[in-house]
Amino acid sequence: MSAIAAPFALMAELTHRCPLQCPYCSNPLELLKAGAERDTAFWMAVIDEAAAMGVLQIHFSGGEPTLRGDLAALIAHATAKGLYANLITSAVLLDEARLRMLEAAGLAHVQISFQGAAAAKADRIGNFRGGHEKKISVARLVTALGMSLTVNAVVHRQNLAELPAMIDLAVALEADRLEVAHVQYHGWGLRNRAALMPTREQFAAADAIVAERRAALGARLAIDYVVPDYYAQAPKTCMGGWGQKTLNIAPDGRVLPCHAAETIPGLVFERAGETALAEIWYRGAAFNAFRGTAWMQEPCSSCALKAVDFGGCRCQALALAGDASATDPVCHLSPLHEEILEMAEGESRAGVEEFVYRRV
């Protein structure tokens, strides 16, 4: 294998606790309780190690990271170490005083999730009354304080009709970046797939809307588009490749190649603080399990794109094909592709509307 490059980003999942209960939450079904969380000293040491090994960006995430009282201290420490600090938040617990504190600590960028464009429907999806209006007021504070703002619009069958209005919302909030992210079917998203899967027609319409608004808005707003890959031809380059760019630390300190990796049986995840982060990244068994291309089966191993998309998502291969080493079944070259497509279309028309809300 060629030399392993240093990671660019660390996803620090400080907690699984969250006031929202979005049915597509990417957290695992078995949520960790507060007692399993690691203390400030643990995360401070993680930041030191990450900076020393070349990590440039830290994403404070969860769950809802603002539930942690030590968030400002962690941001200040990361910033002092030269890391670009991102906050990935629902925003519903933030107010001006707290946000000023985080900004003063060095926070560079705030990503706020939106569940829709209209309050009533959006609040139903997050199961949190008043959430939507609160997010809008916090988003305005973020830009007023001079930080970068990303609007994260999570879309699925039950809110795709609002996509144009969600893009308008991002423009009105003067966001620097809009992430239109189709639900990824892991964790709670997989559990609620039938209630969330868009129809083929919605997928085509969303594609066209994003292309049209990108052209119209130009540099005013950068739009990143995460496609619903059950309907895609080629799989996504999950995480930029397994063990290529990012490492993820769960609330209990386990270091994972991606947040869903713990669904894959047989992988053992070492803990930061017990094993050096660099040791885990370069030599850890879990990080090397699907790194590069040597682990691949056909049709991946002879594919011209194998070093481009790395065979897609390992967790999705496990969930849909029952084998984490298989070609991601959303790929048109997978023997399961047609079956998956039929299943997705079938679920999108089955009329399931009720959500199983995320709960500890």
Binding site: A6, F8, A9, M53, G54, L56, Q57, G82, Y84, N86, A108, H109, Q111, T143, G146, M147, S148, T150, D176, R177, E179, G218, A219, R220, L221, A222, D224
Partner: protein
């Protein structure tokens, strides 16, 4: 938005630049964006301040590197356009 010689580029809010010891290079950091800068790119970014037009930036760089201004200008336009397209700069 097409960048040209008259454009006056500026980095967007929240974009930071630093030297990275691990990669021995300057990097530009923004939301979900990391750009590793080479020597020329660093020289350009240092002049992107929201006041100088591309033509002026190119003039300074052409003098500094003793090269043809038209060729430098083409490079600067291309690089700034890439920054704009990635959401790291406005012009």
């Amino acid at each position: 938005m097409a960048v040209d010689a008259a454009s006056v580029p500026a980095l967007r809010r929240g974009i930071r630049r630093r030297f990275d010891e691990t990669r021995q290079a300057h990097v530009l950091l923004g939301p979900e964006r990391v750009i590793v800068l080479d020597e020329i790119a660093v020289a350009i970014v240092e002049l992107v301040d929201g006041r100088r037009a591309i033509a002026e930036i190119s003039g300074v760089l052409a003098a500094k590197f003793q090269s043809d201004q038209a060729m430098v200008e083409a490079d600067v336009v291309g690089f700034v356009q890439a920054l704009v397209d990635k959401g790291l700069a406005v012009s």
